[in-house]
């Protein structure tokens, strides 16, 4: 198979009796930023959570179809889920720092995966805090509580923490929605740099944000993929009438 890292095949999701994703089939292009756009409640978060199997944590949730990560179906029975989740870093809507120090937050993942050497952990922490452009702001208080950072700093910490386990894919669920414009811009810039090395999938309801940073766009409406393709096509020359009305701001 010569496909991309991440492929979705005929994915449907039900919450109880309600079907919130219908037959989604997608190839997510490698080393690009793919934006998932669509009106509120259309299933963007659900789709994103399906990609690293965070959805099964709830009950009454039924998933049908396949999500292939490097060709491996993560919904196949007896799949070991932790090594799949490890391939994806998650940025949630509100930054979720772990209840420990800044240093421990970044070192958490590597520790879980068996890294014990202090020097190596120090190196990882410094490296990824630099990648997330947070190092200079926190170098003097690495062992202070992560909760004392500003929200924008917390989101960058979450980014560093996610990158520290060596993922190939970054999933972001409106990662800038809790941030002020400057902090948002900072996170957007980081993502723009990271797409050289990572496949990034970004849920956003801000069309301007999608225009600014996405290469590829998926338009979701009532649980269905209406249209997906390169940014220029979806925004410049939508094939579907719904898409046109959405990107022109007629429906929201």
């Amino acid at each position: 198979m010569n496909g991309t890292h991440l492929q979705v095949r005929n994915l449907s999701v039900w919450y109880g009796d309600r079907r919130v994703l219908r037959d989604v089939t997608l190839d997510i292009p490698d080393r690009r930023i793919t934006a998932i756009i669509g009106p509120s409640g259309c299933g963007k978060t659900t789709l994103l959570k399906c990609l690293n199997r965070l959805l099964e944590t709830g009950e009454d949730v039924r998933v049908q179809g396949q999500v292939l990560v490097d060709g491996e179906d993560i919904y196949a029975p007896r799949v070991e889920v932790t090594h799949i989740r490890r391939k994806m870093g998650l940025l949630s809507q509100k930054p979720q720092v772990l209840p420990m120090s800044i240093y421990e937050n970044v070192a958490y993942g590597p520790r879980i995966h068996g890294e014990r050497r202090r020097r190596e952990l120090d190196r990882i922490v410094e490296h990824y805090l630099k990648v997330a452009s947070l190092w200079d702001e926190v170098r003097d208080r690495l062992h202070g509580p992560a909760a004392s950072l500003s929200i924008g700093q917390q989101q960058r910490l979450c980014l560093a923490r996610g990158l520290a386990v060596g993922p190939e894919i970054i999933l972001g669920d409106e990662p800038t929605s809790a941030l002020d414009p400057r902090a948002s811009q900072n996170v957007e810039q980081r993502l723009g740099e990271l797409k050289r090395d990572y496949t990034i999938i970004l849920v956003t309801h801000i069309l301007r944000q999608a225009r600014r940073i996405a290469d590829h766009v998926i338009f979701l409406y009532l649980g269905e993929v209406i249209e997906h393709g390169p940014l220029k096509e979806v925004f410049g020359n939508p094939r579907h009438d719904l898409t046109r009305r959405y990107v022109e701001g007629e429906i929201s």
Partner: protein
Amino acid sequence: MNLRLVRDRAARRGFQALTVLCCVLVLPILGGLAIRSGPVLKTQPLWRVLFSSDWSPTQGQFGLLPFLAGTVYVTLLAMLIAVPVSLLTAIFLSEYASRRVCRCVLPLVDVLSGIPSVIYGVWGTLLIVPAVSALAGLGGSYSSGYCLLSGALVLSVMVCPFIIHVAREVLAAVPRGVREASLSLGAGKWQTVKRVVLRRAFPGIVAAVVLGLSRAFGETIAVLMVVGNVPVVPRSLFDPAYPLPALLANNYGEMMSVPLYDSALLFAALALLVMVVAFNLAAKAVLGLARSEAA
């Protein structure tokens, strides 16, 4: 001045007054007990009353050590049993159990915490006492079953529902996003619970344990019914004990003709009160420390 400001100020004053009133209520109780226990302290020094184990009221000897030891032993032993059981149950209910199991178990836990303590006492007498006696027999020693271990077992069953209830709520209050953050880094379920959820919930869990403990300290009837009530310092699990609340409940109002007896009992009450208050303050300090560390 603006009416809203007046109302605000009145409300604040009102709440202040109520708070002060609540705190002040403790003082007359403390003061009353202290004054009434004065006479016994005049005949023998404080340390003698606290640390002598000679309790013979008719001879004028009022050593409280057996009762202090009884209270501390029963309570701590009960907590030693109750805390691990309750915390593991709470973790199971909040992290692993399906919603259906929770719906069945939680009301049951609440029912348990609402049962009057006499019932626990009767149940302890009928079931725990013979069982403990048999256990002692297996170990090759004789015990009536009315002993420290029985008291601690009954007490632990009584405090479990409290700790489970509070601890489960504290765990459930840990945001889902934090768990998801940990899982998405490739941590397993138990790793997430242990390193993130429990850590985040730690101050609340301390509070749950403290709540259980302060209840255990004062619990009277059920313990009194199974613990044996012999005023000696217990030497083993199968020896009878005599906690302070039991002493008071059994004897206050009787044998008042014995000189200094009521004064000695009131001093015992004062000791119990001081113990509980001191313990609560210590717990507050621990809690404060835990909070600042978890933040």
